[in-house]
C-alpha cells in the first residue's frame, strides 16, 4: 500500500507545484495580492508531499519491499542499511526524486528567508522554482516512476551498483545536487527580475549569498566525486574528463564566473545583462548535465539506464525552460549599459577577463563533450576527444586567470593604479621565481612541476600580500569581513590546488608489476613487499585481500590491504589501498592472479607513488569554505532589513506598468 501512497503524494505535489507556479505569476501580473500570497503556502505544501514520497521510498528500501521494482533492482537482503538508504539515489528514478527533494529544500529556504524582500518579487521567484518542480515531477510521474510495482514479488533483489557502495559515494550525489539545484535560485531571481522589469541592483545583492552557497556545495560535490574516482576506480586518476564529470564541471565554471559578475553588478551596477545571462547559463548547464546523463544522448562510463522517451521529455523541458528564459532575456534584458564606467585597468576589467576565460572554458568543455554527437550528426564517423584536448585547452584558458588572480583584490573599482600593481607583480614574481628555482633542484627538471610551484606561489603570495595589507591598514574587527575572507580563502585554495595538480601530474610514479609472495618492488624511495593474498568477505561480498608492506630505510611505514571484491551479483570491484600523507600518497591496486587457479601465487599489481595529490582536494575544500564564508557576510542580511521598509512600500502597480 505504501508505494501507492508515495505515488499519490507525488501527484499531489505536482498539483501544488502547478498552483505555486501559475497562481502567483498571474497575481503578480494582475496586481492581485491574494493570488500573490498563494506562493508560500503552495511551496510549503509541495515540499511536504515530496518529503512524504521521499520518506516512503526510503522506508520501502529499509523494509526490503521488493514488490517495488526500483527497490528490487537496487538492493538485496544482504545490503547493509546505510547502503540501502544510499540506494534511494543509486539509480535513475530515485536520483530524480532526490533532485526534486533538494529543489524543495532550496525553495523552502528561499520562502523562509525572504520575508524582507518585496512580496511580488518573492512570489515570482517561488513561481519560477515551482515551474521547474512541475517539469521534474511530471518527468518522474510519466517516465521514471520509482514506485512502480513488480509482480510477482521476487524473494530477493538485485544489487546496488558496487562502485556506489562506498562511504564517499553515499554523500556525493546529494551534495552535488545541492550545488546543481542551488543555481536554480540565482536563475529564479534573474527571471523574476526580468519579468518584473525592476533591474535595479537590489535583486543581485539578494541573490549573491544563494549563489555562493550553491557554488560551494557544487565545489564540495566535485571534490568528493574526484576523490571517489581516485579511491574507487583503481587507476589512481582523479579526473577523467568523462561526460558525467564534465556535466558537473560546466555549471561550476559558469558559476565561478557568475559569483564574480554578481559582485561587480551589486557594487557598481555594471555588467547587469551579463550577470543575468550567466545565471541563466549556470542553471541551464545544470539542467543540461541532467539531460546528458539521463537521456542516452551521450554514453558514458557511469551513465544510468537510458531511454529515448526520457530524453525527449527532458529536451522539451529544456526548450521551455532554457529557451523561454533566453527569449525573455532577449526581450527584456537592460538595453543600455548601466552602472558606473570603468577603465581598462580596473577590478571590473580583471573580473571581466576572468569571466570570459571561465565562460569560454565551459563552452570548450561542452564542445568536447558533444563531439561524438557532432561526429554522428555531420557523418564524420565515431569521433571523440579525450584528455589531451581538454587538458591542453583548459590549461591554456586558465593561465590568464592564474596570472590575474593576485591583482584582483588590489585593483580598485573603476580605475586601478599601475604603481601598486607593479609592486605586487614584483614581489609575487620574485617569490614565484625563487621557489621555482629551489623546486627545480628537487624535481629533476620536470617543467610541469616547476611551473606548478611557480604558479602556486604566485597565487598564494599575491593573496597573502593582500591579507597583510588589510592587516596593516584596517582597524581591528574591520580587517576581514566575511565576503572578503571567503574570497581570500578561495583564492588561496587555488594556489594549493595548483600544487596538487601539477606536482602529482608530473612527479607520480606508476608501476605495473607481477608480484609473487615475498617479492619486493621499489617505487621511488619506497620498497613494496607483497606478503600474499588471503580470502575475505563482507556483508554482501567475498573477495581476495592482498597484504603489501611498505618499507623505507628498513622501517615498515605501512601495511596496505588492497582488495578485489565480488558482489552478490558477480560484479567485480577493486578496492585500492591508500596510505595517505601530507606530501605523498602510496597507492596499491590488486589486479588479477597470474594463474587463475592459484590465487596464492603471483598477482598483477599496480603500485603508485603520488606526491602532493592530497593538496588538490585540499585546494578544492579551501574554495568551498570560501564560498560558504562569503555567503555568510552580514552585509547581505543587514542591508536587506534596512531596505525592507522601502521595498514593502513598492506599489504593486510597478509590475503592471512595466508590462505595458
Amino acid at each position: 500500500m505504501t508505494p501507492e501512497l508515495g505515488q499519490l503524494a507525488l501527484v499531489l505535489a505536482l498539483l501544488l507545484a502547478l498552483a505555486q507556479s501559475i497562481v502567483p505569476l498571474l497575481g503578480a501580473w494582475r496586481g492581485n495580492r491574494a493570488m500573490v500570497a498563494v506562493a508560500r503556502p503552495a511551496a510549503a505544501g509541495q515540499a511536504a508531499f515530496v518529503l512524504v514520497a521521499f520518506a516512503l521510498l526510503v522506508w520501502a528500501f529499509l523494509r526490503f519491499d521488493f514488490s517495488v521494482a526500483y527497490v528490487a533492482d537496487n538492493s538485496n537482503l544482504a545490503l547493509p542499511w546505510y547502503y540501502r538508504i544510499a540506494a534511494v539515489w543509486g539509480a535513475h528514478e530515485g536520483s530524480m526524486l532526490l533532485w526534486v527533494f533538494i529543489l524543495n529544500v532550496w525553495t523552502l529556504a528561499v520562502a523562509a528567508l525572504s520575508r524582507n524582500l518585496p512580496e511580488v518579487f518573492v512570489a515570482r521567484v517561488l513561481a519560477v522554482l515551482g515551474l521547474i518542480a512541475v517539469g521534474f515531477l511530471a518527468f518522474i510521474l510519466f517516465t521514471s516512476n520509482p514506485f512502480a510495482r513488480l509482480l510477482p514479488m521476487p524473494l530477493d533483489g538485485g544489487d546496488l551498483n558496487p562502485v556506489l557502495q562506498d562511504p564517499g559515494m553515499t554523500f556525493h550525489p546529494p551534495v552535488i545536487y545541492m550545488g546543481y539545484v542551488g543555481f536554480s535560485v540565482a536563475f529564479a531571481f534573474s527571471i523574476a527580475a526580468l519579468l518584473g522589469g525592476e533591474l535595479e541592483q537590489a535583486w543581485v545583492r539578494w541573490a549573491r549569498s544563494w549563489t555562493n552557497v550553491a557554488w560551494a556545495f557544487l565545489t564540495a560535490g566535485i571534490v568528493a566525486g574526484s576523490w571517489w574516482a581516485y579511491a574507487e576506480l583503481g587507476w589512481g586518476g582523479w579526473w577523467f574528463w568523462d561526460p558525467v564529470e564534465n556535466a558537473s564541471f560546466m555549471p561550476w565554471l559558469v558559476g565561478t564566473a557568475l559569483i564574480h559578475a554578481q559582485a561587480v553588478t551589486e557594487k557598481r551596477g555594471s555588467l547587469r545583462a551579463w550577470t543575468i545571462l550567466l545565471s541563466i547559463f549556470a542553471f541551464s548547464l545544470s539542467l543540461l548535465g541532467t539531460f546528458l546523463v539521463r537521456s542516452g544522448v551521450l554514453t558514458s562510463v557511469h551513465a544510468f539506464a537510458s531511454d529515448p522517451r526520457r530524453g525527449l521529455f527532458i529536451l522539451c523541458f529544456l526548450l521551455v525552460v532554457v529557451g523561454g528564459s533566453l527569449l525573455l532575456y532577449a526581450l527584456r534584458a537592460p538595453k543600455v549599459a548601466g552602472g558606473k564606467a570603468f577603465a581598462p585597468v580596473s577590478r571590473e576589467s580583471a573580473i571581466l577577463v576572468g569571466n570570459l576565460m571561465f565562460t569560454v572554458a565551459a563552452a570548450m568543455v561542452l564542445l568536447g563533450t558533444l563531439f561524438p554527437l557532432i561526429g554522428d550528426a555531420f557523418n564524420l564517423g565515431r569521433i571523440s576527444v579525450g584528455p589531451p584536448y581538454f587538458g591542453f585547452l583548459f590549461t591554456l584558458l586558465m593561465v590568464p586567470v592564474v596570472l590575474l588572480l593576485p591583482f584582483g583584490p588590489f585593483l580598485r573599482w573603476g580605475r586601478g593604479e599601475g604603481g601598486v600593481l607593479r609592486a605586487i607583480a614584483l614581489r609575487a614574481g620574485i617569490g614565484a621565481v625563487a621557489c621555482a628555482l629551489v623546486a627545480a633542484v628537487f624535481v629533476h627538471g620536470q617543467l610541469k612541476a616547476i611551473a606548478g610551484v611557480a604558479a602556486a606561489v604566485w597565487c598564494a603570495v599575491g593573496t597573502l600580500l593582500y591579507v597583510y595589507k588589510r592587516f596593516r591598514e584596517m582597524p581591528r574587527g574591520r580587517r576581514y569581513p566575511a565576503e572578503m575572507g571567503g574570497m581570500l580563502l578561495a583564492h588561496f585554495g587555488l594556489g594549493v590546488f595548483l600544487v596538487g595538480v601539477l606536482l602529482s601530474e608530473s612527479l607520480s610514479v606508476t608501476r605495473d608489476v607481477r608480484m609473487a609472495p615475498g617479492d619486493v618492488q621499489t617505487v621511488g624511495a619506497y620498497a613494496f613487499r607483497f606478503d600474499g593474498v588471503k580470502q575475505t568477505s563482507g556483508p554482501n561480498w567475498r573477495g581476495s585481500q592482498g597484504t603489501v608492506s611498505v618499507i623505507r630505510n628498513g622501517e615498515t611505514l605501512a601495511v596496505m590491504h588492497p582488495q578485489k571484491r565480488t558482489y552478490t551479483r558477480e560484479q567485480v570491484q577493486t578496492e585500492s589501498a591508500i596510505d595517505p600523507g601530507f606530501t605523498r600518497d602510496l597507492y596499491v591496486a590488486l589486479g588479477d592472479p597470474m594463474d587463475a587457479s592459484n590465487p596464492a601465487g603471483a598477482w598483477a599489481m599496480r603500485l603508485y607513488y603520488k606526491p602532493f595529490i592530497r593538496w588538490l582536494w585540499a585546494g578544492g575544500l579551501f574554495m568551498m569554505l570560501g564560498g560558504f564564508l562569503a555567503a555568510a557576510d552580514r552585509r547581505f542580511r543587514v542591508r536587506r532589513k534596512s531596505e525592507s521598509s522601502e521595498a514593502a512600500a513598492l506599489p504593486l502597480a510597478t509590475a503592471r506598468e512595466s508590462r505595458a
Binding site: S295, V297, P308, L315, L319, L326, A377
Partner: protein
C-alpha cells in the same frame, strides 16, 4: 539583435540533441564499425578440423563468396545460433565455412556430432592467432567474404532470424549485383 544570439545558439544545440535522441534510438550504440569492411581478408593457412594434414588457405577459397562463421564448442551463444545456421545455410547461396576457434579438436567434433554440421569447409584455429588478424572479439562472429577475397559484411554475436533477413541476405544480394 545580439541579445537574441544566446537563444539562437541554444536552438541549434537543441537541434543537435534532438538528432542525438533520434540517432541513438535507431542505431546500436555498441556497434563498432569494423575497419576490415571492404578490405581484403587477411591471408591465412589453417588445418582442416577433420584432416589436420590438409590446409585451408585464403587462396584456396577464392572464386566463390563464402560466409566465415567463427564458433567454438565452449561458446554458449554459438549453440543458440547453430540451429538457425543449419536451417538457413542451404538457402543463403554462399559457401558456409566453419572457423573453429580456440577449441580442442575432440571437443569440437563431439559438439558437431551432437548438434549437426552445416559447414562445407571446416578449419581449426587452436591457438587463436589467425583470429587476431580478423579482429575477432569473441565467438560467435561471422564474416561475409566475396569471390575476390574482400570482406563485405561482418556480424558480431549470434545470428538471429531478424539479422539474417535484414542484414545478411541484403549483403549477399549486393554481392551478386556487383559481380553481374
Amino acid at each position: 539583435m545580439s541579445r537574441l544570439l544566446p537563444f539562437v545558439a541554444f536552438l541549434a544545440l537543441c537541434g543537435l540533441f534532438g538528432f542525438g535522441i533520434w540517432w541513438n534510438s535507431h542505431h546500436d550504440q555498441t556497434a563498432i564499425p569494423s575497419p576490415l569492411i571492404d578490405k581484403p581478408a587477411p591471408a591465412f593457412a589453417l588445418p582442416e578440423l577433420d584432416a589436420p594434414e590438409r590446409t585451408v588457405t585464403k587462396a584456396s577459397l577464392l572464386g566463390k563468396p563464402y560466409l566465415l562463421n567463427v564458433f567454438a564448442s565452449w561458446c554458449i551463444e554459438c549453440g543458440v545460433e547453430h540451429p538457425l545456421l543449419q536451417a538457413e545455410a542451404p538457402t543463403l547461396g554462399v559457401t558456409l565455412v566453419g572457423y573453429n576457434y580456440k577449441d580442442q579438436p575432440a571437443d569440437a567434433k563431439a559438439w558437431l556430432a551432437r548438434h549437426g554440421n552445416p559447414y562445407e569447409v571446416l578449419m581449426a584455429d587452436l591457438s587463436g592467432k589467425t583470429a587476431i588478424d580478423f579482429g575477432v572479439y569473441a565467438a560467435p562472429e561471422s564474416f561475409l567474404i566475396d569471390a575476390q577475397g574482400v570482406i563485405r559484411y561482418k556480424h558480431i554475436g549470434p545470428f538471429t532470424p531478424e539479422v539474417i533477413e535484414k542484414e545478411l541476405k541484403p549483403a549477399i544480394a549486393a554481392l551478386s549485383e556487383k559481380s553481374s
